[in-house]
Symmetry: C2
Subunit: 409 residues, 2 copies
């Protein structure tokens, strides 16, 4: 799928499709899915940790008790029982809300799409942290926004930059951020920055889109309050069970004030009528047993923590001088910044050749910056494979460095 | 949800949301879901006919044999095994295609949304049969098209009208039709009209979007070839398992030339990354046993045929003179045209009061025509309930007629 096929409809497509590209990176990832390649690219959760017999039991209960409902269409807002259950989970994180304030979506990805759909007219400005989750950029991109990129440092989004933009008169439709163990940065927004962001956006009446897929995957330290908790009215919170249960059920949600949820629900109905009742009821039932899901989650957190440690150790050992990287306190990703002359996009083919894959940094910036950066995911391969992959990547970086030096007298 | 809540973001929403309305009809349907109301409104399949033990067995096999895959993310195009299986089903209908020509979607509804997304710029013209499936109008409507409405008669879409429009110089982005037992018309596009439509659109290089959810629910007579079979290059075929298996799994698909499928896949990934691997594998496994699914399907067809008969008999008995209705040879719907002075939208509240619900005709026309029409669904209530509902509706129509006559000297 590296290039589009010859096309009889070429004059008929909408303008928004010009931003949808079948890139060469995509073609490389197809190659990278071969078993001999250590993939540090995809953010696939380690679903093998989920006991299959528990899941079968959950499905049996759903079919026996709610078979007709599971197999039928449901309302666009999603099963009430699931919304109630998810609020129970969020209450444990300090979030208070009513089931009416929630719409269930096909993963948090669909919530991103629907947020784009109800807020963005072509040419509208939106503010996004940079680097930002590539899937958010893709979802929003379909609605043809302009972007205000706000840098990330070790404390998360640099809110001062956003404030400067407001002072200049910029009025984005919303501000997008992934504040906990961000994708791809691995960085967490500090408490002081959270307060600053909340106050700034509230004052400006600009909603914040808080994307929080990784919040419950904390390896160490104390949780910080969600942005939604700090300002229930001005924050559109997006959640998902993909990382704490399974992405295969495709259950995510948006939590916001009624007026937003009503529009998201109408947009959801236009997009696919409703989610899978079957998968919603299975998800509800899975989370009905506190001990079950907390035990499984704590197993997962242990696995991911060990893998992060393995990756950080290997990066410290094998990456050349002048490399910088983040130290995530949770989540899936380490974000690497190489010497400025390096080009991770150009280098990807050589990496795959050496049987290791990553995501080039430029994918995470609307303006294509970040050619000297890369995202490394530690969530899926076991520790020895991670070490092997980082070693291969380190050797490549070393060779590239030698070559670069030999060409500069 | 009859009115939007007071809204702090009222100045921030995209222009496309102005067409998304929380209508009074919606509020009435909430009332109509009470058990004492006979709902002839919703097109809910009779999923109770599906043996729960068979389904549990299917799920068990999927979890035992492909557990990790079922719980994981998959590719945006959908599981290859499912695409291959669905092509087997379609081959039985005379459709030949390659799994690469298919993308799996969240029901056919998402395929409609994605077709809108890749083809429609604001203000673009699209041609739709009139009346047309309300969900198609909602999906396309989010992309702000203009509409060319093509009437339906007893042989389906009046293709001559489309030809006249082309002669006038109209150039729609695509032509949308539901050719088999159409929603809401119940009418089937004749063979001669199929050939005429295919030739006309091929000549004009305008793609046809063929929406075929009901094709396998034929009560009598012989099948006609799909438009896709008559012109594999120029037709975008949309299918779903919602009516032949279960809408709760949310599995539909689009079948088209590579260039279109590539763009639909990219749009799908932007919209929700991928469908539920779990539900895709369950669907694949369900249809792997020919005898199982054909037996269940034939049970369903028998049920729907009896319900159609019950509805047509009751309509003939209870509806006042001057009423016309269609006689569907399959599917879910009877389309009723009342005397021209009647207003089915205004009358709905009184109908719900009398414990019967339908969908007002105007919902199915972009320009809001059809106030003297209504859609009656015979798919869900048992025969005695259908007779009861039609009797109540007939009494209301009779009373309205008396009142109307008494006011006109």
């Amino acid at each position: 799928m590296a290039e589009f096929s010859i096309d009889r409809f070429v004059d008929l497509y909408a303008a928004r499709t010009s931003g949808m590209s079948a890139s060469e990176v995509r073609a490389l990832f197809a190659v990278a899915s071969r078993p001999e390649v250590v993939s540090l690219a995809g953010g696939m959760p380690f679903v093998q940790a989920l006991p299959a017999d528990e899941l079968l039991q959950v499905v049996r209960e759903v079919l026996e008790e709610h078979g007709s409902m599971a197999l039928q269409y449901g309302g666009g807002q999603g099963a009430l029982s699931l919304r109630t259950r998810l609020l129970e989970l969020m209450a444990a994180e300090g979030v208070r809300a009513d089931p009416d304030d929630m719409v269930i979506t096909t993963g948090a990805q669909q919530a991103l799409d629907l947020v784009g759909k109800i807020f963005i007219d072509p040419g509208d400005l939106i503010a996004v942290e940079a680097p930002a989750y590539v899937g958010a950029l893709t979802a929003f991109g379909a609605y043809q926004p302009r972007y205000l990129q706000i840098d990330i440092d070790g404390d998360g989004m640099v809110v001062d930059q956003l404030e400067q933009a407001f002072i200049r008169g910029e009025r984005p439709k919303f501000v997008y951020t992934c504040p906990n163990f961000g994708n791809p940065s691995g960085v967490t927004l500090s408490y002081a920055r959270r307060q600053q962001l909340i106050a700034l956006c509230r004052e400006a009446s600009i909603p914040i889109v808080e994307d929080n897929p990784y919040g419950m995957l904390r390896f160490e330290g104390d949780s910080l309050p969600c942005l939604r908790t700090l300002d229930p009215e001005n924050v559109i919170y997006l959640g998902t069970v993909s990382k704490v249960f399974s992405p295969g059920v495709r259950v995510g949600w948006a939590l916001a004030v009624q007026s937003v949820i009503q529009r998201l629900t109408l947009a959801k109905e236009a997009a696919d009528l409703c989610g899978s009742s079957f998968m919603m009821l299975v998800t509800e039932r899975y989370f009905s047993d506190q001990e079950r899901w907390r035990t499984n989650l704590s197993t997962l957190v242990g696995v991911y923590r060990s893998r992060r440690d393995a990756m950080l150790d290997a990066v410290a050992e094998h990456f050349p001088e002048g490399t910088e990287w983040t130290t995530p306190a949770g989540g899936f990703y380490v974000w690497v910044t190489l010497p400025a002359w390096m080009d991770t996009r150009a280098m990807l083919a050589a990496a795959v050749e050496r049987r290791v894959a990553y995501v080039p940094g430029s994918a995470f910036y609307p303006d294509g910056r970040g050619r000297d950066q890369m995202r490394l995911a530690f969530c899926y391969p076991p520790e020895d494979r991670i070490r092997e992959g980082i070693q291969r990547l380190g050797a490549l970086l070393e060779d590239e460095t030698q070559l670069y030096r030999s060409l500069r007298p």
